[in-house]
């Protein structure tokens, strides 16, 4: 068990070091990255099965007992997130190798990518507020480099905004850690769970809101989302796919973890979260409708869907949290495959602008199918996974009597469908109005290099499977939600092994 919890963090860091040493040999670098991420997928799958079987498990690094030492914890929620994240990282890496561009021209890509993987894994597995800060920094620093890889003018411009806003969030996180430590004398999440209950109610609410703001910046919640649609589209498309699929979701994970574990039921800010969730949904989708660029529409859609995840959390019921877990997993898979398809569209059409693209349903029918399936899934059409997630959210909302948020969710789903059809019309259906500004690649029947199309297709298939054969995942989400709502299991596993 020790190895299962530590290796997902240690392996990619060692891999990154080896990758730097192998800097001159591209094939060696690729072999290292694929091996490391492949092993991580297997490890996290084994971890998921064992955690689901045995319940929450904790490991104390170096054998120091809980509140003092460095704690690594896996419960069902973090295990399922880790597994999905590892699969995404591997699929996107294969895509990046197949794509002419970022990965081929930069020696540092592979090693930085592995550091990002380590940061994501550490964020999911850490049981300690300060180590969560360190894991976030590891992940974000890697993301700064990946985002500005190439150093083009617009990348530097949007990268600057992204780095500055992330650093402000980090300073705020550090401040929160300092305040939490001076109020409670501990940063261990399980220990905090007990100590937080002893604080006066006002202080607890202040901490809850502070943590919501800190992670809300990373998760792109309203009104802290403005950096995301500006920053994501300028990065190379595999990088955008990883960011879209994983980074915001790590923020969502941190919000869910801290809001459920640290605060006793009477001081949970459920109404605040529901209001923020509703505004995030609406503002995100309205932004998406106004855009004229494939990646920007998709980026605004990320913001909108973060609102759906927050909706399930804001309800603070088992059904709501189960829906959040399911929706988050669905969204990681669907969004990553959408951005990979966005990269294929740029590869085939030589542009990302709707006015410069057209008629691709004839020139690249495979890409059209790869676009349509996750697009309908995001809009929530049955039998795809988005439908299951949205049905669960609406069901949970009605069960708790929160009708305004349910109405907002329904309306936003319809508008999401509209924004998805806007891309469909602009890119695949109607003829192009202007000539593309970039390079148009010659493609065969597949619509791109096999190494780009196959990982995308596999992710799309995984998304379909999650909808059609979704029952096991839904049951797992329900068990994870029950764990989240009752923090005693988590606290017991860490403090009294």
């Amino acid at each position: 068990m020790n190895a299962l919890l530590t290796l997902p963090i240690v392996l990619p860091i060692l891999g990154a070091a080896a990758s730097i040493l192998a800097g001159r040999v591209k094939y060696a670098q690729r072999a290292i990255s694929i091996t490391v991420l492949g092993v991580m997928v297997v490890l996290s799958a084994v971890l998921l099965v064992r955690i689901d079987d045995q319940g929450t498990t904790a490991v104390q690094a170096g054998g120091w007992a809980a509140p003092m030492g460095i704690t690594l914890v896996a419960d069902r929620f973090s295990a399922v997130m880790l597994f999905v994240a590892c699969v995404m990282l591997l699929a996107v890496l294969l895509y990046a190798i197949g794509q002419p561009g970022a990965e081929r021209h930069h020696v540092g890509f592979q090693s930085v990518y592995l550091v990002l993987a380590a940061g994501v894994a550490a964020s999911f597995l850490t049981g300690d507020l300060f180590n969560l800060f360190v894991a976030f920094e590891m992940m974000l620093t890697a993301s700064y480099v990946l985002m500005t890889l190439g150093g083009r003018a617009e990348q530097v411009r949007s990268g600057m905004t992204y780095v500055v806003i992330s650093l402000i969030a980090s300073a705020l996180f550090m401040t929160t850690v300092a305040l939490v430590y001076s109020a409670t004398g501990t940063v261990n999440l399980a220990d905090l769970s007990g100590r937080m209950a002893e604080l006066p109610e006002g202080v607890r609410t202040a901490f809850s809101v502070l943590l919501l703001v800190v992670f809300g910046i990373k998760a792109a919640l309203f009104p802290l989302f403005f950096w995301l649609p500006d920053a994501y589209p300028t990065a190379p498309s595999p990088v955008t796919a990883v960011f879209a699929g994983l980074l915001t979701k790590v923020g969502v994970y941190a919000i869910v973890r801290t809001q459920t574990l640290l605060f006793p039921p009477d001081s949970r800010s459920g109404t605040l979260i529901l209001v923020v969730a509703g505004l995030t949904m609406v503002v995100g989708v309205l932004g998406a409708i106004a855009q004229d660029d494939v990646k920007r529409i998709l980026s605004f859609n990320i913001v909108s869907h973060i609102g759906f995840m927050m909706m399930g959390l804001g309800l603070f019921t088992t059904a709501g949290l189960a829906a959040t877990v399911f929706y988050t997993v669905h969204h990681i898979v669907a969004k990553t495959s959408m951005f990979l398809t966005g990269g294929l569209i740029e590869h085939v059409g030589g542009s990302g602008r709707l006015s410069r693209l057209g008629g691709m349903v004839r020139t690249a029918p495979v890409v059209a199918v790869l676009y349509m399936v996750p697009a309908l899934s995001l809009a929530g059409l049955p039998p795809l996974s988005g439908f299951v997630g949205k049905l669960a959210l609406v069901d949970a909302g009605v069960a708790s009597g929160s009708y305004p948020i349910v109405a907002a969710a329904m309306a936003v789903s319809l508008l999401t469908l509209y924004s998805m059809m806007k891309i469909w019309n602009g890119v695949f259906w109607s003829p192009a109005e202007e000539a593309p500004e970039g390079v148009v690649h010659r493609v065969g029947r597949l619509g791109g290099p096999a190494l780009m199309v196959v990982p995308t297709a596999l992710l799309v298939l995984a998304g379909v499977a999650m909808g059609v054969l979704g029952a096991p995942l839904w049951e797992l989400s329900e068990r994870a939600a029950a764990d989240l709502l009752d923090p005693n299991g988590y606290v017991e596993a860490v403090l009294r092994p």
Partner: protein, 136 residues
């Protein structure tokens, strides 16, 4: 927590916030540095004060709490690295544009002008229609 440290943190936070809101990249970077210094000072102020925590140098109950010092040290190293990255990014921006200011988001401008353009076209068409009426 001593008043001096609290005051120092407050001043660093306020000056940092003001600098981040400037348009020049160098000021933004200095602002970020001050903001993280403020957070570190707050961290240092959040613990029990006392003698240096070295085992064998005295009674452990008189020691200061070493944990926040370790936290602050980690945070300082991280912010050091990231500041260097920011500086290189600002330098790259200067090489590309010969300007130290934050550039505008072009795409955003285009979207913002959409409505205006539509109105301009409508006005123009109204003017043309009016001219035609006069000619008749």
């Amino acid at each position: 927590m001593s008043v001096t440290l609290a005051l120092a943190a407050a001043i660093l936070f306020s000056v940092g916030t003001w600098l981040i809101l400037q348009r020049a990249l160098t000021r933004v970077i200095i602002g970020i540095a001050l903001l993280s210094h403020g957070a570190n000072i707050l961290m240092m102020a959040s613990h029990r004060r006392g003698r240096p925590p070295i085992i064998g140098s005295g009674d452990p109950s008189e020691f200061s709490d070493p944990l926040p010092q370790a936290f602050a040290l980690t945070a300082i190293v991280i912010s050091f690295g990231v500041t260097v990255f920011l500086l290189s990014l600002a330098y790259r921006s200067w090489v590309l544009t010969h300007d130290d200011e934050v550039q505008d988001d072009l795409e955003d401008r285009l979207i913002g002008r959409q409505g205006v353009l539509d109105k301009e076209i409508a006005d123009e068409q109204a003017a043309i229609a009016e001219e035609e009426l006069e000619q008749q």
